[in-house]
Amino acid sequence: MKHLSELLFPLIAVIAAFIVGGIFVLIIGDDPILTYQLLIGSALSWPDGIGYTLFYATPLIFTGLAVAVAFRCGLLNIGTEGQLYVAAFAAAWISIKLGGTVVGGVNYSWASLPALALVPIACLVAILMGAFWAAIPGYLKARFGSHEVINTIMMNFIGIALVSYFTQYYYKTPGDPIMETAEIGVAAHIPRLGSFIPGIPTRLPLNVAFLLAILACVLVYIFLWKTKWGYEIRATGANPSAAEYGGIAVRKQIVLAMAVSGGLAGMVGINEVLGYRYRYYEGFSASYGFTGIAVALLGRNHPVGVFLAALLFGMLNRGGIFVDAFTDHVSKDLVEVLQAVVILFVACEAFFRGSFNRFSLLRRSKV
């Protein structure tokens, strides 16, 4: 019963979003039912639909988990977008440096490591870079009390600009008109699922990072609910002054939670750079960081919920492309409208829970 009531409100939010989106579709003169059939049908076809849905869900699982961990500590990490950009660049950088990249006679690298060494190093660098970028606003909050929301927004812009600088001046191959780095060494590539799981076509970009995302869900669950650190983070989020009184170093928890959050966001770089494009590419993120907020909220800041919500939004991203191509007027921007409505509804949930309680329709569940 407890789990059912947990599912109820997210479900209402999603249905409400589809209704509001449908009204907009009607306004611009298309058929909402057909649009949604196309949206969902194209995302659930085997193998391409489901393969791409899972591929698009992968970064959202990471950013959703990132926002959720920070949320559990009472922090709002709006900076996952910046964190995943610096992490993706760092992953590309180390894979160029240690992957033996030579383009047009220019040697970019220091060494040429084998895959067995390079891939773990590159993953670790991505995670640490994301963690570092998020730990800065965490530290500023712990040390000076400055609001993490503002600082993470500022760090987004700073991170994206710095990475753009390094790309433009140091790691772009000469004559390349696109803002992207040189290609990373082959040793740093992580395999597509199709290359070792029979039945999945290799043309699908779905790669090992998806398995890492599932692993991350499990690890976040263990971290938050089965370790002392996780307990202290949740205690800090539930009531900072009580936690402080109970002997928890609240300031340390804030930095820790932000670092873990940023590390998770940084793992988007693994999917993007090591598993898909094999280079850093400016503007690659289709606002994964901001969608992560929607994913975390809809998933109730729980790894299982985050996974399900990421699948939903991955599905919408996949279906959006088809809606764009095969309807007269509706564009894939419909997906952003749906996202926004979901967030608004979930954000207002506390109020409705209150009124549910008042009429004792639903008992409040314990977190």
């Binding site: 907009f24 306004i27 611009i28 003169g29 709002l76 709006i78 500023l140 040390r143 000076f144 400055s146 609001h147 929301v149 503002i150 600082n151 927004i153 500022m154 760090m155 812009f157 700073i158 600009a161 710095l162 753009s164 600088y165 433009q168 001046y169 606002s287 901001f290 969608t291 907020i293 929607a294 909220l297 007027h329 509706v330 564009s331 921007d333 419909l334 997906v335 952003e336 409208v337 996202q339 926004a340 409505v341 967030i343 608004l344 979930v346 954000a347 207002c348 506390a350 109020f351 409705f352």
Partner: protein, 295 residues
């Protein structure tokens, strides 16, 4: 280098600071009443898109400007209802509006103008390149007067600092906050409209490109006060003007100047100020807290 610092740079600074002044003063009303307004970015986009579309059809920028204001008010009313009526997390609600306004203009524009997210060009005689600039510098003393010299302003600030006390004195906290958030929508709407029918001549997807957030930064940098906030906007407008002027300029050594380092100045400054290194920047005390009457 001398040619860079010229009269043209001053005018460019004034024009680039204008949308920031409108939006940040809008944000000031909302935040001084206790409602965080991260939605400035989205409100500006609403204003920009609506103003450009209506100006294109009506052939008159003033009608477009009014429509832009109306759109800003309409979008901010969503934020107001979510935050004040339903006690939503104000940051989350603001982010939702920002995401909505990345998608919605492109969604509607795609069917209105059969293009992905930009409106058609508006002829030059239908643009308002300077009037909103003058008005922005009238807005600053006007905001100061309203906030510090009128009963309305006193109540608004009281609601943002100590809502219980204001409530006890017979001020309706909700009414004050509703009006503050709607005013912020109107002002940020002007800022957005100026981007599309003043600075440029069409709306393009996500054309604010972070100006809503820079306005928020200016508001914090200016310590939530009108004159200081205006100065912050001018500083941020200046850095943007310099970064535009420096494009393609080369140092005597033949290297060009990395634009990125100039672009990040406002953000770095805001972090420094927020940490308290340049004087204390203190937010209104009740900011972000929904107010519930005690029963």
């Amino acid at each position: 280098m001398r040619s860079i610092f010229s009269i043209a740079l001053i005018f460019s600074t004034l024009r680039l600071a204008t949308p920031l002044i409108w939006a940040s003063h809008g944000g000031m009303f909302s935040e001084r009443s206790g409602v965080i307004n991260i939605a400035l970015e989205g409100i500006m986009l609403a204003g920009a898109f609506t103003a450009a579309s209506v100006t294109f059809y009506a052939g008159n920028p003033w009608i477009g400007l009014v429509a832009g204001i109306a759109a800003g008010v309409a979008i901010s009313s969503i934020h107001a209802v979510a935050c004040i009526r339903f006690n939503a997390n104000q940051v989350v609600s603001g982010m939702a509006i920002n995401i909505l306004m990345i998608g919605l203009p492109a969604f509607l524009g795609g069917s209105l103008f059969a293009s992905t997210g930009s409106t058609p060009q508006i002829p030059k005689e239908n643009l308002i390149p300077w009037t909103p600039v003058f008005l922005a510098f009238l807005l600053v003393p006007a905001t100061w007067y309203v906030l510090y010299r009128t009963p309305f302003g006193l109540r608004l600030r009281a609601v943002g600092e100590k809502p219980e006390a204001a409530d006890a004195a017979g001020v309706s906290v909700k009414l004050m906050r509703y009006s503050a958030v709607l005013i912020s929508g109107a002002l940020a709407g002007v800022g957005g409209a100026y981007l599309s029918i003043g600075q440029s001549s069409l709306f393009t997807r996500n054309m604010t490109s972070g100006r809503g957030f820079i306005s928020l930064a200016a508001l914090i940098f200016g310590k939530w006060r009108p004159v200081q906030t205006m100065l912050a906007c001018l500083l941020f407008g200046f850095t943007e003007a310099v970064s535009i002027q420096l494009q393609g300029v080369r140092l005597p050594s033949g290297e060009d100047i990395p634009n990125q380092f100039i672009q990040i100045i406002p953000y770095v400054l805001t972090i420094i100020v927020l940490a308290g290194f340049i004087g204390q920047s203190r937010a209104p005390r009740a900011i972000g807290l929904p107010y519930q009457k005690e029963r």
